[in-house]
Symmetry: C2
Subunit: 351 residues, 2 copies
């Protein structure tokens, strides 16, 4: 993806070459994009990467499949509402679902630090087993490596996944059309704030649990009833704001969201205010945005609301006429501001 | 795989439960097996894992595909004959080839340590690009995470891969038959000793370069000409000895290899002697064992020798009558000794 820079004031930090990796290169914002654009994409030019999506869609024996991978380095390993194991399964399940695929098979690669309590590993593996059962995927192949004490951080997991596209649809940023309605599948910011509270030992009013959940079932239902889904994007690192920016840039279309329509739980809003964070940039692990033909929006909401993990679905905005790649937020009082890609990172090691 | 323990004397270390992860759990020997048997296999019981092979064979749209993953934590990142990037591509390419599949698509997940020189990342990515081109695979999807300084070790890479089974064959440990001839594709021990020399700054007589190479082309040729390949196994962590033990255990057959038939370069043999290592346990990255019907052995050698990366192929032993899972080595003077699975590790972080 090319990083759009239509507004000089957009960019509080100079975009320059960094001679070393910074935490922000993993934050899902502008520096992550720069790393992808300048290091990975030139080296690995392929049709798969050019889809600019959460996974690659490939063809095998006349059948389209989706293929995706993610590594998980979340800190701490266990947090309210989940752990690195649930993340590792649901994250890859959701990346496949965002391609319109039914997730089927998962691989798992473990990098263990010498000295990790065996009990910790067993807990994580047990979570993965349960999450895989819940999401209807099979873990079919794996690998384990051990690194010296002090050269890892307990446990890192990589999962890759294969899904099958059962419906004759093409879903991706380039399918988004002017007039599409933007839905989200529920309230925002819970995963990020659950991690923060666990990591920093913060106590907020009311416990905040991660929203980590598999999204394949509601996605399959949207496709099954023939809703014209143009794009799907899970709202992980960088949150809703980053997802909107990425999709707007790939689609070369403008988008506007109505701040008042975006559900954020009171305790999450409160915690964000204390920490000076904007919930639109906070990571989620069981939330997605859906770009859908305007005529299908109501029906799509109806389908989503029938599933517990997407029961809070709502329409938050639309694809509008305007500069390609530009995303605006309309505030409570009707003011419009640009909702930009973050330059740095908000919360490191969130997933 | 159940760990066979037919001989009490086999096991110099007590096989017990370890409350913490040891380096040896990643060494490819008995403790790795124990981790797989006691932690991973019970949790992730599936047809794919039950194949006890380098990858899982799955079916999509009537077409069989192979799916495999490996994480790479080799230390140092660069060594004579390759680097973590060449390993990460060739390792997964070879795992797919060992299933009899033509490797097609690769995913890459990077875990970067804060402070990693950008130049190092670019060198590794460039190696991956070249290795992918050489092996005829496309890198189609990826992910990058960054961990805090002191919580990683420069750079870890995970790759997963998908290959297509173009020939109607089933290749795996359970296909091995009594009388099968065991071939290896070239001299042993170079990768392990190249890593040791780079890591410890040792200088041996003559430079030792890793044998890291893709094995898909010779495997495809074996299948193309209709050779009855029963099993393929790359000789990575734990070397030839571990591969023979794993396959013998899964196949529940006995195997014998002739020490004098196993090629080991003089400088590798010398380095192993200095360090007290047995080259049959040292890791390779471009070597495989092939179990083939006796009638096809000569023809298979002819096919392998036509490829530069398998030009040194030779027959080293046979599947014989005897206790299931037992592997013996016949020495220069005709003495027979058991070639057992290592309890611990020989060389940590070899791949």
């Amino acid at each position: 993806m090319s990083t759009p820079q239509p507004f000089a004031l957009n960019c509080p930090l100079p975009i320059a070459d960094y001679p070393h990796i910074l935490m922000a290169h993993g934050g899902g914002g502008r520096l992550t994009q720069q790393l992808i654009d300048r290091v990975f994409r030139p080296a690995f030019k392929s049709a798969g990467l050019d889809q600019e999506h959460d996974g690659a869609v490939l063809e095998v024996g006349g059948q389209r499949i989706a293929f995706s991978t993610d590594s998980y380095v979340v800190k701490p390993l266990f947090f309210p509402g989940g752990d690195i194991g649930t993340l590792a399964i649901n994250g890859t399940v959701n990346d496949l679902a965002m391609c319109g695929a039914r997730p089927r098979w998962i691989s798992a690669g473990f990098i263990l630090e010498e000295g990790l309590p065996m009990e910790t590993l067993v807990r994580v593996v047990t979570s993965m087993k349960q999450a895989a059962e819940q999401a209807g995927v099979q873990l079919v192949t794996g690998d384990t490596k051990v690194v010296d004490k002090g050269k890892g951080d307990g446990l890192f997991v990589n999962t890759a996944g294969i899904g099958v596209l059962e419906y004759p649809v093409t879903i991706g940023p380039r399918q988004v059309q002017l007039g599409d309605v933007i839905l989200i599948s529920g309230d925002l910011g819970r995963h990020g704030m659950a991690i923060m509270s666990a990591r920093e030992g913060l106590e907020f009013d009311g416990a905040i649990e991660s929203d980590c959940a598999p999204l394949a079932a509601p996605v399959m239902d949207l496709l099954k009833v023939g809703i014209q889904v143009h794009c799907l994007r899970d709202l992980t690192r960088g949150g809703l704001a980053s997802a909107l920016n990425e999709v707007a840039t790939s689609a070369q279309l403008a988008m506007e969201v109505d701040e008042t329509a975006i559900p954020v739980r009171e305790e999450v809003q409160g915690a964000c205010e204390i920490l000076g964070l904007d919930p639109l940039y906070v990571a989620n692990e069981g939330r997605m945005a859906v770009w859908v033909a305007a005529a299908d929006a109501e029906r799509a909401l109806h389908v989503l609301r029938a599933h517990p993990q997407t029961a809070g679905a709502c329409a938050i905005g639309q694809v509008i006429t305007g500069s390609g790649g530009m995303v605006t937020r309309k505030s409570r009082i009707g003011a419009r501001r640009i909702l930009d890609l973050l330059s740095g990172e908000q919360l490191p090691r969130i997933c």
